[in-house]
């Protein structure tokens, strides 16, 4: 479904990602692990079209989407919830979701009520400005905005960053529900616990290279993660 082979990303002379491979089908969940600066964010942003790729191929739904603009990729059903959320501070919650649902696309959008069902708090705040929401609510809105585009696969970049433990727990539950509903989840995380709760498989990155790929509960993976984090 989503097949990535030999993905490379560079910033000018600096190569951030040195060729990683992974596959992901709808309903599946995969965690991309690694310490800061390992190239996780660069990888997902390149997949979603926000960063240019320096090599490799991204095939989605049978079509080569390497180097296509982000807007094109979203329309095909591959949505990214970016690390910094990238919301529109002066938009209300409802406007934000409308902006995503009324953008031109090939697939019908999900009704906004879907999002409000999943995140009742957003329903209550629908006329509040996105900039005035709490961090957790902003994260929910970012997920909601991606969800409205009716994705087949959703990329989540560190959804837990800067959030309180309780909120992270409820987010994890919702991501699990989204996954069960048949959406493929690619989760970028530093926090191993969250990754374990969401994903069944994982890819461990270290300085831009995949150093281990396998099941989340594999002990060998643990060692690789330790190594990747603390050197």
């Amino acid at each position: 479904m989503l097949e990535i082979s030999g993905l490379k990303v560079s910033y000018g002379a600096v190569q951030a990602v040195h060729g990683i491979d992974l596959t992901l089908a709808p309903g599946e969940s995969l965690a991309l692990l690694g310490a800061n600066g390992a190239g996780k964010t660069s990888s997902v942003e390149a997949i979603a079209g926000l960063l240019p790729t320096a090599g490799g191929r991204v095939v989605f739904d049978g079509a080569d989407i390497t180097g296509k603009p982000a807007s094109h990729i979203v329309r095909r059903g591959l949505a990214l919830v970016p690390q910094w959320r990238e919301l529109f501070p002066a938009f209300t919650v409802e406007e934000t979701l409308l902006a995503a649902s009324s953008a031109p696309r090939g697939r019908p959008p999900l009704p906004l009520d879907h999002v409000y069902d999943l995140f009742p708090i957003l329903g209550q705040r629908r006329l509040q400005l996105a900039g005035s929401l709490s961090g957790g609510e902003q994260q929910m809105l970012a997920i909601g905005r991606a969800l409205v585009t009716n994705p087949k696969i959703m990329l989540l970049d560190e959804p837990s960053a800067g959030l309180a433990v309780g909120i992270v727990r409820s987010l994890v539950g919702i991501v699990q529900r989204i996954c069960q509903a048949g959406v493929g989840i690619l989760l970028v995380e530093q926090n191993l616990e969250i990754a374990e709760a969401v994903a069944t498989r994982c890819v461990v990155l270290s300085t831009g290279r995949a150093v281990w790929t396998g099941r989340m509960d594999d002990a060998a993976g643990r060692a690789a993660i330790q190594e990747a984090y603390f050197g």
């Binding site: 807007s71 094109h72 979203v74 959320r85 529109f88 002066a90 938009f91 009324s102 585009t149």
Partner: protein, 295 residues
């Protein structure tokens, strides 16, 4: 008193045209982060197109309100595509230089096409002026004055409304607010930028249609409109459409008031004094947008 009312109404008529041009500048700046110093050239070409339609081809005046905005909008989108797109990766400074000279080029191209001092365009609407009794005196209002003031304001308000509530407006606002976020919603940068330039150009074209009878068509129109429209936009905070609208009206009224009650020489200075004071007192303009830009 009647005299005062007439001064205010006269100022509003010019102010409404400034406002329309200023809104175009703001739309383009908001959505694409480009400061368009060539906007005056677009307004002038709008007035010129009106001349060609109404005088040369003898089409009825109302057709200009339909055709000219489309034409100038398309031209603006074309300029974005051909000249500004390659400049997108350059810094703001380079883009400002580019648009300054683009404006000069537009004026000069027109001058080469039509080397006369001024092309006159008949009024869109004529008829006996209306007398409104105020105290002992009567204020005199012409239909044209009402039409231009009302029409330009209506278009400006419609622009405001569209930008605020339509899908198209939402896409531009989203792009203005967070370019990555907007892309992740599915909005293409290329398309939204072209749309913004088209919209800004269309507003400039309409400003030209409204301005043509009362100002005539000459390259000087480009310079005087760009100065006034910029002042209006800066007064309004440069990123607020409503601010630009109010800024335009304010400028028009202040200009005529100062000319009427201070000195006619003060007129051209007053807009600059106003601009200067606003910049010093509130650099973010009188009506700053609530914004937190993603960097």
């Amino acid at each position: 008193m009647a005299e005062f009312v007439m001064v205010i109404l006269g100022g509003l008529k010019f102010g409404a045209v400034y406002a329309l041009a200023a809104i175009g500048i703001v739309v383009i700046h908001k959505a694409t982060r480009t400061v368009n110093f060539a906007h005056g050239g677009l307004v002038m070409l709008g007035a010129f197109a009106t001349y060609v339609l109404v005088v040369d081809w003898k089409w009825p005046y109302w057709t200009a309100y339909l055709v000219v905005p489309l034409l100038i909008g398309a031209l603006a989108a074309g300029l974005e595509l051909s000249i500004l797109r390659p400049l997108r990766r350059a810094d703001l400074f380079t883009v400002v230089l580019g648009t300054i000279f683009l404006g000069t080029a537009l004026s000069e191209a027109f001058r080469l096409a039509y080397n006369t001092e001024l092309l006159a365009v008949p009024a869109a609407i004529s008829g006996a002026p209306i007398f409104i009794d105020i105290g002992e005196d009567a204020a005199i209002v012409t239909l044209e004055q009402i039409w231009v003031t009302g029409g330009a304001l209506a278009v400006g308000l419609a622009g405001l409304f569209l930008f605020r509530y339509s899908t198209l407006g939402r896409s531009m606002r989203a792009m203005a607010s967070n370019i990555r976020g907007a892309q992740l919603c599915g909005y293409s940068v290329e398309r939204v930028y072209a749309t913004a330039w088209f919209t800004g150009g269309a507003l400039a074209g309409l400003a030209g249609v409204f301005a043509a009878p009362s100002r005539g068509v000459s390259p000087e129109l480009a310079v005087s409109i760009i100065a006034s429209a910029f002042v209006a936009a800066v007064i309004g905070g440069f990123d607020s459409l409503a601010g630009a609208l109010i800024g335009g009206l304010l400028l028009g009224v202040v200009e005529t008031l100062s000319a009427a009650y201070v000195s006619s020489a003060a007129k051209s200075a007053i807009s600059f004094v106003l601009l200067f004071l606003v910049l010093l007192w509130r650099p973010e303009g009188l009506f700053p947008e609530a914004k937190r830009r993603h960097v």
